[in-house]
Structures are given as C-alpha cells and as structure tokens.
C-alpha cells in the first residue's frame, strides 16, 4: 500500500494517465480510501485530467484566439523573403 507522501510525490512527478496500470490502480485505491490525502489528491488528478482534455481540444480553440495584426504580418513577410534570399544565394 502506498503512503500519502508517495501518492503526492508520484502525482507531482508524473501525470496519473501516464503511469503504468498497476501503479494507477494502487494510486486510485489509496485516493479513494484515504481520509487524509484522498480529497486533495483527487482534485490533483481531476486537474491533470482537465488539462489533458484541454490539450486535446486546443486545435478547435484557434478561431477564438487573438490574431497577428497586419503590420506585424507584413514585417514578417519581408523578413522571411530576405532570409530566403540569403539562404539561397545561387538561385
């Protein structure tokens, strides 16, 4: 049986979902039964799960994110064009 400290330490080093199945089993068992660290570490696990789901949904968030303004885009285009001339001197 894992101790509270071992459970907390494991969750701080590695996401629950990335742990081997047996470790996950013992960890979940501890968190379900423990009156000391159970509630706290359950919230840590829920937070990890939430962040994992957020990363899975990130692609769909693109339209809601801020856009690069036109001036910056134009400056970047000029820079990339000049870089390409430098990187291909014989063409």
């Amino acid at each position: 049986m894992l101790t509270c400290k071992q459970v907390s330490s494991a969750l701080s080093k590695e996401a629950y979902q990335k742990m081997p199945p047996l470790r996950r089993f013992f960890l979940r068992l501890h968190v379900k039964l423990c009156v000391f660290c159970g509630k706290f570490n359950r919230q840590v696990m829920e937070s990890q799960e939430m962040c994992r789901c957020y990363r899975e949904h990130e692609e769909s968030l693109s339209p809601h994110r801020p856009k690069l303004d036109t001036d910056r885009k134009d400056a970047l285009k000029d820079l990339l064009a000049s870089q390409q001339i430098h990187s291909k001197p014989n063409e």
């Binding site: 400290k5 706290f40 856009k67 690069l68 970047l76 870089q83």
Partner: protein
Amino acid sequence: MSEDDSPKVPVTPPEQWVDLYGDYLYGFAMSRLRNPDAAADCVQDTFLAGIKALDRFDGSRDIKFWLRGIMRNKIVDQIRKSIKENKVDIDKEDEALLESFWFKYSGIATTNPDPWQFNPRKYYDNGEFWVVFEKCIAKVKNPARQAFILRVLEDQTTEEVCKAMDITPNYLWVLLHRAREQLKVHLEANWTGNDAK
C-alpha cells in the same frame, strides 16, 4: 509499411507561411505567453528556425504542426527569458505551506480542499468550456502560471522547470498547487454563469 512508404505532406513554401500559419501560431503563443510582443517574437523565431530546418522536414505530418513543434521550444525559451528578468521569490504564505505539518508528512496542502461548485467533467465535450478554461489560465498570476505552463501544458520535467525557474521541487509543487487553486476559482466564477449550476 515502412516509413518511406508513408504518404508525404507537400511542403508549403515559406513565403506563404505568414498568411497560412501566422494567426494560428500567434494565437498558440498568446495562449502560453499572454504578451503580444513576446508572442510575435516567438512566431518570428519559429519561422526563421523553420526555414533553417526545412531540409529536415520529413513530410510525415502537416507543416503547420511541425512549425508548432518548433514553437513549443521557442515558448519555453521565452518563458525562461521572462523568468530571468523577474526572478521568482518565495512569499511568506508559500513558505508557511512548505513548513506545514500536512505538507511535510503527507505531501498535501490540506485534508479538506473546497469542493468544486460544479462538475467540470460534464462540460468536457462543450467547446465553449475550453474557451473559458483558456481565459482562466491567462488569469492565473505569475510565477504560478509560468510553472503551470511549463510543467503541465508544455510537459517539461520537474528538473527542467526547477532549473529554468531556479526553484526547488518542493516550491514547484507549491506553485502548481497555487495555479490549480486559482484556476478553480476563476473557472467557478466564469463558468458558473454559463448554466453550470
């Protein structure tokens, strides 16, 4: 099927990158850095690094995702740079938490954390929830936010984050705890308005 037989994605010429991927990469950088100038620098550095490394692009995935892969390193560099400019100091409340009985003996902050005011899992399939979630991450205060981005969203190891922030693993644990706490508070304040209760 060998790796060479896998379908190749055509290489988009760099002169089209700004129009095709500029907004996408800038938005991604903003979600991590929150600073328009730093995010724009990141996009620029990503494109320049992309041009240099283009001969190593293997065509196994869309170039947009390849560029985003490069950008992840640039984001970590930007956060490191910002931390160097504003050194992370441990405050008294965090020091007290590190010295507390529960942290020392059980590795937890409290035995009785406040329960969630709503069940976030119910909304994992709701795109609007993740838009609010991202806005709430932006509201988390530094250095907790920086620790959270590096460790949780950018998958840096504990050792890498501690080195970048010049902090101990125990203090990183406190910062991540603070980030989770603040994220929960912001989510409850911002999402409960959207029929969560």
